[in-house]
Amino acid sequence: MEPGGKGCEDPGEEGVETRASMPAPHFQPAEQDPPPVREELVRLDKVKRIYRMGENIVRALDGVDLSIRRGQYWSIIGRSGSGKSTLLNVLGCLDRPSSGEYYLGGTNVSELDDDALSEIRGQRIGFIFQSFNLIPQLTVLENLEVPLFYQEHEPKVAKERAERYADRVGLKDRLHHRPNELSGGQQQRVAIARALMNEPLILLADEATGNLDSKTEMEILTLLDELHEEGMTVIMVTHSDKVADRAGHKLELRDGKILQITHHKKEDL
């Protein structure tokens, strides 16, 4: 199942363990001790994402190799247009690589069809966007229930879980409000709660604080830090170095290529 170990582009780092991945482990509470060797959740092999627009060819991702282990906290940084969102979309199975392989929890998802990708998004991925992306005509509670609706959970289970995560992000009293009745920070909290609803394998945040003032930004980042500490694998895209340095592992992109990977935190490797 595991392809031969290949190192990241970062030269100073040790190679990737060749241990076989377990099938789809779930987000686990923090009380449990982390396993001695963390399993590999994400593995990218020469992933390219190429857009052809008539004569022009845009290499949004141009041969990315990457390995991310369970429970790690990653930031992706780079200039505008360097391919950060494209990379995150590929990682979140919203987009498919033009070439190369992507293994998520051991499954080669670059070969899956649209339905299977939807299923993976619905079961293993939590998305947080810059523009919150709540559905305006639905209440907070209804927005939270959306992901579970597609997993055909019982409405009762969905409601219970929605209340739990709304409480977790401190918005239990806003369940029946509509998104436009909330501040930006509150909306992003709802979005984070929604991303947690399916108890995902990875939380992906694309410039999650880009639309927020610095005080609110801190609150949201603190929330992400806490989630990471509780054991969640978090990957966030940002263009701010200060934000990027909060993460244990920092990936710098330029023109679709990995410029550098810095491991601030080596103990979770």
């Binding site: 919203l94 339905d115 939807s118 299923e119 619905g122 992306n133 959306v146 597609y150 409405p155 399916n198």
Partner: protein, 423 residues
């Protein structure tokens, strides 16, 4: 999809529609008018053809009717007609020939009609005297209210007895009992032996008219009392004609024999009457024609209703395409949160079907009330068969699916990343 999630998808559809009440209502109107016009047209068409069929059935589907017709004459005769009586029409011989040569013929009823005035004490009423035979009552289904119909003895003895129509009885006798009263027809005295019952109100055929306005006497008496010559005076001009029989009603033994016998009679008559002074009416043929007409009528009405539904459907599709574009972002969000293409299709399809079915239900209400109003204000018969609303509802749901499919498919085909980037 689960039943539970289907219900939730329908609720979601309602909710989205309620966000744009005016738009949804206007879109619904297209279907509403389409469906109501389907029902109204079908009901009115069904009523019209029912009436036509009833009228034909009143003639008797086992009967064949021959009528005298003034021949399409040349100019010479036209000039002479003021002076000389015109000879044409069905003859006693024709009646005999038909009765004797055609095996499927059960009864032949000769009828001679003479316009006359009838008088009882001080009251004088214009009428038509029908000289006929006793079998008339069975073949045309007249009902006796009082007394009896003509008998064979009346006929053989050329008795001066009369059976009077329901309205004539009312006009001449008012509250008196007409039985055994003597009336004067022209110059002759006849004794009333029977009075006919009033035919059904809806029955407006010729036979029914005679049952109201006519006076029935034995054919033999009619000939011997009133002669062969008929003088018609109208607006100063005088017309004389010599017609033996005005009509011959032929009853055939069975339904299967009607068309063949009709053809045979046409042939016999064409050979005998070179002047074309007759007409053969086969009610069964008319019935078949009426059925054909109805079929064509239904096709035409169906096409018109279909076009209006098509327009309604296009309206729905237009609105749904706009909705899909407007909600591109929402589609992207749902896809990112795990919605499969079929979930998106279901969401928009359900919305369209909900819209068109609501339009359909309101259209049924309107469509059922239009025939009722038409019937109230005019005497047009309408028939709302229970199949129409069911059909109409089915059509509106079908229109919803048909015209919702493309917008829903478009929504489902969107690339999630593109959709999320949409402003």
């Amino acid at each position: 999809m689960h039943r539970g999630s289907m219900i939730r998808t329908i609720r979601l559809g309602f909710k989205s529609l309620m966000l744009h009440k005016l738009r949804s209502a206007l879109t619904m109107l297209g279907i509403l008018f389409g469906v109501s016009s389907v029902i109204a047209m079908l009901s009115i068409g069904e009523g019209a053809s029912y009436e036509a069929q009833e009228r034909i059935k009143a003639l008797g589907s086992n009967n064949i009717i021959l009528e005298s017709r003034k021949p399409p004459d040349d100019n010479n005769q036209q000039e002479q007609s003021a002076w000389r009586a015109q000879d044409y029409g069905l003859t006693y011989e024709d009646a005999e020939l038909i009765s004797e040569t055609l095996p499927a013929v059960k009864v032949v009823i000769p009828i001679r009609e003479i316009p006359k005035r009838v008088r009882y004490s001080e009251t004088i009423v214009p009428t038509i005297v029908l000289g006929t035979v006793p079998g008339y009552s069975e073949v045309t289904g007249v009902k006796i209210k009082e007394g009896r119909f003509l008998s064979w003895i009346d006929l053989r003895r050329k008795r001066n007895v009369a059976v009077i129509g329901s309205e004539i009885a009312r006009k001449l006798f008012r509250l008196e009992n007409p039985l055994n009263k003597n009336i004067r027809i022209g110059k002759e005295i006849f004794r009333v032996v029977g009075q006919l019952a009033e035919p059904d109100r809806g029955n407006t055929g010729k036979a029914a008219d005679r049952m109201r306005q006519g006076i029935f006497v034995p054919l033999s008496s009619a000939i011997s009392f009133f002669g062969e010559l008929i003088v018609k005076t109208s607006a100063g001009s005088r017309e004389m004609e010599r017609v033996q029989l005005h009509r011959i009603k032929v009853q055939v033994t069975g339904n299967d024999e009607v068309l063949g016998t009709g053809a045979a009679i046409r042939k016999i008559m064409a050979d005998k009457h070179k002047k074309k002074d007759f007409a053969v009416i086969v009610p069964l043929e008319l019935l078949r024609q009426a059925e054909d007409t109805k079929r064509i009528f239904n096709i035409v009405l169906g096409s018109i209703a279909g076009i209006s539904l098509l327009v309604g459907g296009i309206g729905i599709m237009n609105v749904m395409l706009a909705t899909v574009t407007e909600r591109t972002r929402e589609i992207g969000i749902r896809r990112a949160l795990g919605a499969k293409r079929r979930h998106i299709i279901a969401q928009f399809l359900v919305e369209t079907v909900v819209l068109s079915c609501m339009g359909g239900i309101l259209g049924i209400l309107l469509g059922v009330s239009i025939p009722a109003v038409v019937e109230w204000y005019s005497n047009i018969t309408t028939i709302v068969s229970p199949a129409f609303p069911i059909l109409a509802f089915g059509i509106s749901a079908g229109v919803g699916i048909l015209f919702g499919l493309y917008p829903a498919w478009r929504a489902a085909q969107m690339d999630p990343v593109e959709a999320l980037r949409h402003e």
